[in-house]
């Protein structure tokens, strides 16, 4: 079971890295989602896999009668899922705003490569404030 999951995690990492390196930011988001799940599976596997053994102590026992999976990694995964979800949401909104400004999400495009085009971004900020007025 561990071997199977290890292979699956490896595959997911490979697919995610391929997507993240593709140079299109939308694909980066997909890659990030997949790799997040791969990492969660990795933590899950690191807690050891024991099949169909709930971590419950029967009434007549003082301790667990059989080996069970470690429950802590599952708590860690839960935290990681919540954080990952927030990150993906933020990333999507950021990309949407960026797309509205640059018209492209291809990292090969000039607006992502060339920083000389935005020599003094703070100046443009100030200009925008002037245009917006003291609303």
């Amino acid at each position: 079971m561990e071997t199977l999951l290890a292979c699956l995690i490896g595959l997911m990492f490979a697919a995610a890295l391929y997507l993240m390196l593709s140079g299109t930011l939308v694909k980066f988001v997909f890659g990030f989602t997949i790799i997040g799940n791969a990492v969660n599976l990795l933590i899950f596997t690191a807690g050891r896999l024991r099949h169909v053994q709930p971590p419950l102590i029967p009434p007549e026992h003082n301790s667990l009668p059989h080996a069970v999976s470690n429950a802590l990694p599952q708590a860690l995964i839960l935290t990681a899922i919540v954080i990952g979800f927030a990150m993906v949401t933020f990333l999507l909104v950021l990309l949407l705003r960026t797309y509205a400004h640059t018209g492209s999400l291809d990292v090969g495009e000039a607006s992502f490569l060339d920083e000389a085009g935005q020599e003094d971004p703070a100046t443009t900020d100030q200009d925008q404030i002037v245009q917006r007025g003291p609303s």
Partner: protein, 498 residues
């Protein structure tokens, strides 16, 4: 005061909550934020005093005993980092009054700054690896918020780079956590120190260490993972960029120091040698990158990279003196670098631009500002008797003692190149006659006191640190002693009961 180690985290969080209700009221927001920052500073001083008395102060959160629950632990290094965070936070908040425009206040500048401070302090104080991950994420979220305030196009593309590379860093981090937990069954840092040495599978443990090194290396902007930093920092509002420049990459350095003194010391021939090479290349590439830039904040951003190289060099040499040097360097660098970014904002105000080609003659029009620049600039370059000189001296002395002569020469040479960059800013912005041009911004010759005072307070701190170096070095040596021999730290966390 058992709860003392948690207070520097809790207070900014509470203030952030209050501030998020007051985003429309710029004046009152600033007042509350500044009061919160000053109170935070007082707490940080109290924490440092307590730590000086008891060596290590531990709080077992929820009274769970150590390897099972999460604990907050303040040793010398943590306490001094919290104090320096509080100093920079107060300076930045005071400066922000006239730097942050109403739109940015409405987007939540003040609450985000408080959350960021809370997260940075959390990262410095935690004694648990997964908790460190959570603080890193809180830090990221708060910094994302600050990064995209105002939605200017330049800031958004810089922001995309910052966000994506940092997300990748957190992925490396949590993968390493999974592997380490699988190998040792614990995430408590003190417990990890005990268990890491006994792990059979040294190769996998070293792999996990390297994953963490990459994760923290991205945060700390080490070679070859530094490209995001100069692409993003110069797009931020000045007050925000000063805090980012001072604190954020240094959280990465702190995490490296903590992990590679406390946990991963079983295979130093791999881990610390890698750090040594990386540190040398970071110093060199940062300073060379700065030489080709003409935008003031881009020059300073590249210097963050080269200076981080010195600190990591101190860690990589792994002798008590080198670590003490790294700690002195951290303290000195955070103050000086944040100050230089604050000065860059004043140069923009007085001269109309960040680009050195379009400003000039500031020495004539704003002599006081020239003084405010030259103190941190000389300290950064390492002129005696300012703080940077002592920090560099300790690192170079430590590398000579470890017989790393090439590295000692390289450190000195990088210092020289730093002087070149600082002189470039000096001669372009302050010395040469002001260029005739249509100005993008009207130049103000009367600079706001809210912006000048933080600059001069930090400059004064630099001078005082330089002149009263002996107690600072003595403190750093004992802090380094705690790191090199973590018995006290471990006993305080594992031995005591809540």
């Amino acid at each position: 005061m058992k709860i003392l180690p948690a207070l520097p985290i809790l207070l900014p969080m509470v203030v952030a909550l209050a501030l998020s209700l007051l985003r429309e009221d710029r004046g009152r927001s600033h007042g509350i934020a500044l009061a919160g920052a000053v109170l935070h500073l007082a707490l940080a001083i109290l924490l440092l005093m307590t730590v000086l008395k008891h060596e290590v102060v531990v709080l077992w959160v929820g009274s769970w005993p150590a390897p099972f629950g999460i604990c907050l632990a303040a040793d010398y290094l943590s306490a001094v980092m919290v104090l320096i965070t509080a100093v920079i936070h107060s300076a930045v908040i005071a400066y922000a009054r006239h730097d942050i425009d109403p739109g940015q206040v409405r987007t939540g500048f003040y609450p985000f700054m408080q959350m960021l401070t809370a997260a940075v302090c959390g990262a410095f104080l935690t004694g648990d690896l997964f908790n460190l991950y959570v603080w890193f994420e809180v830090m990221l979220m708060a910094s994302f918020g600050l990064l995209v305030m105002g939605h200017s196009p330049g800031r958004l593309t810089g922001g995309v780079k910052y966000v994506t590379i940092n997300l990748i860093s957190t992925l490396f981090f949590i993968t390493a956590i999974g592997l380490i937990y699988g190998l040792t069954g614990t995430l408590n840092l003190a417990d990890l120190h005990v268990k890491a040495a006994g792990v059979q599978n040294t190769a996998l443990m070293t792999a996990a260490a390297m994953l963490l090194m990459i994760a923290f290396g991205i945060k700390a902007a080490l070679f070859p993972l530094f490209f995001w930093l100069p692409a993003a920092y110069h797009t931020l509002p000045v007050a925000v960029s000063a805090f980012f420049a001072g604190m954020l990459s240094k959280v990465g350095v702190y995490a490296l120091i903590r992990m590679f003194t406390l946990v991963f010391t079983f295979n130093t021939s791999v881990t610390h040698t890698t750090l040594l090479v990386v540190a040398a290349l970071t110093m060199l590439f940062g300073v060379v990158g700065a030489a080709s830039q003409m935008e003031m904040r881009r020059i300073l951003s590249f210097h963050i990279i080269s200076q981080v190289g010195y600190m990591v060099l101190g860690l990589a040499l792994f002798t008590p003196l080198a670590l003490a040097g790294a700690i002195v360097y951290l303290v000195h660098h955070i103050i000086v670098k944040a100050n230089l970014f604050l000065v860059s904002g004043l140069v923009r105000q007085a001269g109309g631009a960040f680009n050195l080609k379009s400003v000039g003659g500031l020495y004539k029009t704003n002599g006081l500002l020239a003084l405010g620049f030259i103190i941190p600039a000389f300290a950064l370059a390492g002129f005696p008797p300012l703080s940077g000189f002592w920090a560099k001296l300790l690192i170079i002395k430590a590398s000579l003692e470890s017989q790393q002569y090439t590295l000692a020469i390289l450190s000195a040479a990088v210092g020289l190149l730093t002087v070149f960059s600082m002189i470039k800013i000096w001669s372009e912005a302050f010395w040469k006659p002001a260029p005739v041009k249509e100005q993008a911004l009207p130049a103000h010759h009367n600079l706001s006191l809210w912006m000048l005072v933080p600059v001069f307070v930090l400059a004064l701190l630099t001078v005082v640190l330089g002149l009263c170096m002996e107690p600072v070095i003595r403190f750093s040596v004992s802090a380094a002693g705690q790191l090199m021999d973590p018995q006290v730290y471990i006993e305080a966390i594992l031995g005591g009961r809540p």
